[in-house]
């Protein structure tokens, strides 16, 4: 697996895993998730907006080349936790993260860590497709351009590769100069995914990527997720439980702690495990109530 960008520090562990994956399913069986192959490790993470504690005490690990789903009722902080993984909460005034968030062993919130470096490796797709008011080509080329890729040939190659990976190439290859705003919802979202893939990230975070799309477009995105998970690690926030069962390997269920005295709601991680276990045999009663539909 070639790394086109010069800025990524080669991780021998990653290369090892990649090689073993290329070796085929039998070899891949041997690299079942072990404590070594986790990408994110959060320990006792609490997130505050000012003095308001939005999420409390989240500890979990996200594993490589898996799709992990965050589910839970609205207001439980799943999006907040997701955004913590690529330092997008920095953009909110007064947001503060306590606890450790480690990405491949490196702490994300240390003083000298550059947020832009983090976000280049950990990309994000948003709930509402947000293509730039530029051409389709320029949308996908934006990321590589700001990372210094100049030559037209190189950019063409990256753009085509990213659009193919996002399963959008055939539909737009003849109108690359048309505005990205003119695409349908599903296409626009795939454009945003292509744009994210163009910078060759390590992880792709998705915040309810299908909630603004119709069922057919949703299906296309879900197929896409399954296809690309061999190259990337995906964390998806979804309020659609069926979607979680369809695509994810692991699921984290969040819920809300209501403090009646101050009338505040704080998100909390209730249970985290393999998807089939969470949905068929959950350990916590709250999880059971949610997944069987007895609660919001």
């Amino acid at each position: 697996m070639e790394q086109p960008e010069q800025n990524v520090v080669a991780n021998p562990q990653l290369n090892q895993l990649a090689k073993s994956q290329l070796a085929g399913p039998a070899a891949r069986q041997q690299v079942q998730p072990t404590p070594d192959t986790y990408i994110f490790d959060t320990k006792n993470v609490s997130i505050y907006y000012g003095t308001f504690r939005a999420v409390t005490d989240v500890s979990l690990s996200i594993y490589e080349n898996e799709i992990t789903a965050f589910i839970g009722p609205s207001g439980c902080g799943k999006t907040t936790v997701l955004r913590t993984l690529n330092r997008m909460n920095d953009l909110v005034e007064g947001a503060r993260v306590e606890g450790d968030v480690h990405y491949r062993g490196a702490s994300l919130y240390r003083k000298d860590v550059s947020a832009t470096a983090v976000r280049r490796r950990i990309g994000m797709v948003f709930q509402k497709p947000n293509p730039f008011p530029k051409s389709i080509y320029d949308n996908v080329a934006y990321g590589p351009r700001i990372n210094g890729v100049r030559g037209r040939g190189k950019l063409d190659e990256i753009v085509e590769r990213s659009l193919r990976r996002a399963a959008l190439w055939d539909e737009v290859k003849d109108r690359m100069n048309k505005s990205g705003l003119g695409l349908s919802g599903g296409q626009a979202q795939r454009l945003c995914i292509a744009r994210t893939l163009a910078v060759e990230p390590d992880v792709v975070l998705m915040d309810e990527p299908c909630s603004a799309l119709d069922p057919i477009a949703t299906g296309a995105i879900e197929d896409l997720m399954r296809e690309i998970k061999s190259r990337y690690t995906i964390v998806i926030v979804t309020h659609n439980m069926q979607q979680a069962t369809r695509v994810s390997d692991r699921t984290a269920f969040y819920s809300v702690l209501r403090d009646d005295k101050s009338d505040t709601r704080t998100g909390v991680l209730v249970e985290y495990g393999r998807t089939d276990q969470i949905f068929q045999d959950p350990s916590d009663s709250r999880t059971k109530a949610y997944v069987t539909g007895r609660m919001g």
Binding site: L91, T116, A117, R119, G123, F126, I146, R195
Partner: protein, 324 residues
């Protein structure tokens, strides 16, 4: 006809019919009249000033607009020198004010946290509240004498240099196109800044987040997400600033130098439409006065056109934002 209800009470149908009292209708008429007043005033301005300027139009004809000879004593009233002066001083003001204003607007919307934004906005508001005549007073008594020194040094430095020498050649006193341009720049900065801020604030946050999520620095985000959205609106804001700079009278009247000449020397004294009207109207009569009125008509037409274009652009870009 009456309808009988259960309890046997008759409710005359006419009681339910809508009756607009005189007071209600009167209020509506009043409000409509107040609204129409805007249109009426604009029309009256055009009509009355043109009428007052008619003797100038009849003597000089339309060629008067393009003639450079302004000699009231000899009865010659060519307007070109003043149109030139207005354009040049406003142009200098725009060139200086726009980058600064847009930079401040970006600073306020993208860079500074909320608490720091307020004192900066306060300074901008304070800048806006300084009356034109105070700018002019300070300009002529303090600023012009001070900057004359700079003009001299720059002038002698570029003497003989092809383009620069023509632009920044030997100056005289400090009252000049350039000085007027600088003061006008100070005066239009508040409006261009606040309009640009409004335009930039309509950029959807989700677009900005999309850029950041790709690992963009703030500058890259601004170029990728903010600029394409705000381009149009900022052009509108710039045009409005231009209109304001062209119409600004008193500050220009005091510092532009009152010399009706067309010259490329930016440091030389010149004159502009509003300035000459303000300075000469008191003693003018007959065709002279009509000529000054005519300049006023020209100024009115130019600023109305610029404002209409600008407002149209700003409205259209705002509408596109909401529709997108």
């Amino acid at each position: 006809m009456s309808t009988v209800t259960q309890a046997g009470q008759a409710v005359p149908a006419s009681a339910l019919a809508q009756r607009r009292s005189l007071g209600d209708r009167g209020f509506q008429v009043l409000a409509l009249a107040a609204g129409l007043l805007v249109l009426v005033i604009l029309v009256l301005i055009a009509v009355s000033t043109t009428q007052q300027a008619s003797s100038w139009f009849t003597t000089e004809g339309l060629s008067g607009i393009f003639s450079t000879t302004w000699n009231p004593a000899a009865g010659q009233f060519g307007a070109l020198a003043f149109i030139y002066g207005t354009a040049i001083s406003a142009g200098i003001a725009i060139v200086m004010a726009v980058p600064v204003s847009v930079a401040i607007a970006l600073l306020l919307t993208e860079v500074v946290p909320r608490q720091w934004a307020r004192p900066i906005v306060y300074v901008i508001d304070l800048l806006a509240v300084v009356p034109s005549v105070v700018w002019g007073l300070w300009g002529i008594l303090v600023f012009a004498p001070w900057i004359a020194g700079f003009y001299s040094s720059i002038g002698s430095a570029v003497k003989g240099v092809p383009v620069l020498g023509a632009l920044f050649g030997p100056p005289t006193s400090g009252a000049s196109f350039f000085t007027a341009g600088i003061i006008l720049a100070f005066m239009i900065t508040p409006i261009v800044t606040s309009l640009s801020r409004e335009v930039i604030a309509t950029v959807p946050a989700i677009d900005k987040e999309g850029a950041y999520a790709l690992g963009a620095t703030r500058l890259e985000m601004i170029r990728g997400a903010v600029w394409p959205h705000s381009k149009g609106g900022i052009v509108g804001a710039v045009l409005l600033g231009l209109g304001r700079a062209m119409g600004e009278t008193i500050a220009a009247a005091l510092v532009i130098g009152s010399s009706a000449t067309i010259t490329s020397h930016l440091f030389a004294p010149g004159d502009s439409m509003p300035a000459v009207i303000a300075n000469e109207f008191g003693e003018a009569s007959g065709v002279f006065r009509a000529a000054l009125m005519g300049l006023g008509v020209l100024l009115f037409i130019i600023t109305i056109i610029i404002n209409m274009i600008a407002r149209g652009i700003v409205q259209r870009s705002a509408r596109r934002q909401r529709g997108a």
